[in-house]
């Protein structure tokens, strides 16, 4: 391997990349656009606990709790209580059965139903169960045995307590990395179609050096931009090394994908038409973070899931190596397989 040649080729690729007006504009406008989206998103969550209460009889205790700062609204039926939860009027709905008093009097456990919106964290659920016991105590003056059942209305979106702005982090990282594959695929396909690769390969440059140079240029472009964005949006504040390694693997994955696209595409338009479906597929896993519970387990077959999930866990929850090593291993596996396949199909075009 002649690193002087590799360096020369990398510098040539970077120079050509930034001379392509369409790609450069797309890159810079994209970066600004992502930052604008990030900073207009709410940076905090609404912590007011809105509770809907259906009770077949009047509960003076609820009025007392209202006075103590809780936002409890009485509703006139269980159906309207559920409707309110689904509509997002209440985070929690509490439904007391019609026979609650009779059961308590006869020493039985009355069944109390709780309805939650999909994004309620476990801590709130636990707190509400305590609140019901408190309500019963305030109402009767004694500790009562209750049978509490929980029901989630709508998809489970556990984890939404993270501010929407922060939930954008993995999406932005994936978007930036994957957008770079457009530029790199275009650069490579042009090299093949315009036969400039052949001009290079009758100099002492080898096919291996050509691929190493393309990989360095592709990974470098994607990685630097992704790191830049993550620094600006605070994604590196917790577990910066985990995030860096994840972004690096993500950039390598995008480079492998761009090799595959470049092997199929012949010009800028065909690069676009091949890239966009691929981009859409690779971005799908980001929605598991934006809208938890919307997408089921099948998303794990998409390689970028492991990029998204690792960034989300490391940047938003502070997960360390011990928590994400398996994700990184799977991501590395996908990257190696895709890059090998990309080099395999593209190599035939160079020869």
């Amino acid at each position: 391997m002649n690193w002087r040649i590799v360096g020369t080729l990398v510098s040539k690729d970077l120079s050509l990349f930034f001379r392509k007006r369409a790609i450069t504009v797309l890159t810079f406008v994209g970066l600004i656009f992502y930052l604008v989206i990030y900073f207009v998103m709410p940076s905090s969550v609404d912590e007011n606990l809105k509770i809907g209460l259906y009770s077949p009889f009047s509960l003076p205790a609820s009025i007392q709790l209202n006075e103590e700062g809780l936002d409890i609204t009485a509703v006139d039926s269980e159906a309207s209580l559920k409707e309110g939860v689904i509509d997002g009027q209440y985070i929690v709905g509490i439904s007391l059965p019609d026979d609650v008093i009779e059961k308590l009097n006869s020493g039985q456990k009355p069944k109390i139903s709780l309805y939650f919106t999909p994004d309620v964290p476990q801590e709130i659920k636990d707190a509400v169960e305590v609140l019901i016991s408190e309500l019963a105590y305030m109402q009767t003056g004694q500790t009562l045995a209750l049978d509490v059942s929980e029901e989630i209305l709508g998809p489970d979106m556990l984890g939404t307590q993270i501010p929407p702005r922060d939930r954008l982090r993995p999406l932005l990282a994936v978007f930036i990395i994957m957008m770079e594959l457009l530029g790199l695929a275009n650069l490579i396909s042009e090299e093949v179609e315009r036969r400039t690769a052949h001009a290079l390969l009758v100099t002492p440059t080898t096919v291996t050096e050509l691929f190493v140079a393309k990989s360095i240029a592709g990974i470098g472009l994607a990685f630097v931009q992704a790191v830049l964005i993550m620094v600006i949006i605070g994604g590196m504040n917790t577990q910066p090394f985990v995030v860096l390694v994840t972004l690096l693997l993500g950039a390598a994955l995008a480079t492998g994908v761009s090799f595959l696209i470049a092997a199929r595409a012949k010009d800028f338009m065909s690069v676009m038409s091949w890239s966009f479906p691929v981009l859409i597929i690779l971005i799908i896993p980001s929605f598991t973070v934006m809208f938890p519970g919307v997408i089921t387990g099948w998303v794990k077959i998409i390689p970028s899931y492991y990029l998204v999930d690792t960034i989300h866990r490391a940047a938003n929850y502070g997960s360390g190596w011990a928590d994400v090593w398996l994700n990184l291993l799977i991501l590395l596996g996908f990257t190696l397989v895709i890059t090998w396949a990309g080099i395999f199909v593209l190599r035939r075009k160079f020869q």
Partner: protein, 308 residues
């Protein structure tokens, strides 16, 4: 300069015959390549001396490009050997490629870069530390346009830049594939001058072309390739002597005032008498001597034209 070189060659001072030319820059030994069942290059053998210009002629599909690809290390032969500068190309690709220059038929420049940037890029790939791109561009007649992006160049200018790129490393063997095809006379002349300058410097030139006149003007020897085989290889003069027919073309005016053509074969025992008789009996309007072109010879040998 062209005329001088042609006279020297025609006088029989072929570079192949000089003592200093004992070493061969290019040797093809039973060189063979096939695409599946189709044999593109069929056990060809030839040698090109250092400092020689070899014109490599043949119609499309004759196997010229495949031969060049094997000689330049772009393809591995399926049989035989290609030896450049004493090295087996297949085993010493990178070393060989450091000593050769290749000018492709189709333009393959980095069009969003300037001419200087294109040349500097290749100079760096060859590991040349001090390289003067501007001087080289002046040599091919691109002065004043050095810092313009190549995408703004005309076809002739791009081709001149391609030739300049192929000599960035002062190659010992220069491969040129149709370097003047479709170019204006000025660009063609500029490129021909560079080819001759490179030969004068000592480089061996392997010139692939359809243009018989160009091959005739520039080449020390020409090789005719047809259906994967070399069917003739000699100096243009020898080929013309061997296969060509020299004749005197005469236009005469008849008694009725009409013009008629007469032809007298040269180089025969009857020629002097025939000429004398024609000039004494006919009213001569024009007289031209005619010799066979390389195209005629190619057709005679292969039964097909070069452009088929």
């Amino acid at each position: 300069m062209l005329n001088y070189i042609k006279k020297e060659r025609d006088a029989g001072t072929s570079r192949m015959k000089g003592d200093k030319m004992a070493e061969y820059a290019i040797v093809a030994e039973d060189l063979t390549y096939s695409y599946g069942d189709l044999i593109a290059v069929d056990h060809i053998n030839f040698k090109v001396a250092e400092g020689e210009i070899l014109g490599f002629l043949g119609p499309n599909g004759a196997g010229k490009t495949t031969t060049v690809n094997m000689l330049t290390g772009q393809m591995k032969p399926k049989g035989g050997r290609a030896i450049l500068l004493g090295m087996d190309v297949a085993r010493n690709v990178e070393k060989v490629q450091g000593d050769i220059g290749v000018c492709f038929e189709t333009t393959n420049l980095y069009e969003q870069m300037t001419a200087v940037e294109n040349l500097n890029l290749f100079a760096r790939l060859f590991g040349i530390k001090s390289f003067d791109a501007v001087t080289l561009l002046n040599r091919v007649g691109l002065e004043g346009r050095e810092k313009d992006r190549v995408e703004t160049y005309s076809k002739g200018m791009k081709q001149r830049l391609m030739v300049a790129r192929s000599i960035v490393n002062r190659p010992r063997v220069l491969f040129l594939d149709e370097p003047t095809a479709g170019l204006d006379p000025t660009s063609s002349e500029a490129i021909r001058n560079v080819i001759l300058q490179e030969r004068d410097r000592g480089a061996t030139v392997f010139l692939t072309t359809h243009d018989m006149l160009e091959a005739d003007k520039l080449s020390d020897r020409v090789a005719f390739m047809n259906q994967g085989k070399i069917v003739a290889l000699d100096t243009p003069l020898n080929l013309k002597r061997q296969y060509g027919k020299r004749a005197l073309k005469v236009k005469v005016s008849t008694q009725s005032g009409e013009l008629e053509d007469r032809e007298i074969a040269l180089d025969t025992p009857e020629t002097p008498g025939d000429v004398q008789e024609l000039f004494s009996r006919e009213q001569i309007v024009t007289v031209h001597s005619e010799e066979a072109t390389l195209e005629d010879i190619f057709i005679k040998i292969t039964g097909r034209g070069l452009t088929e």
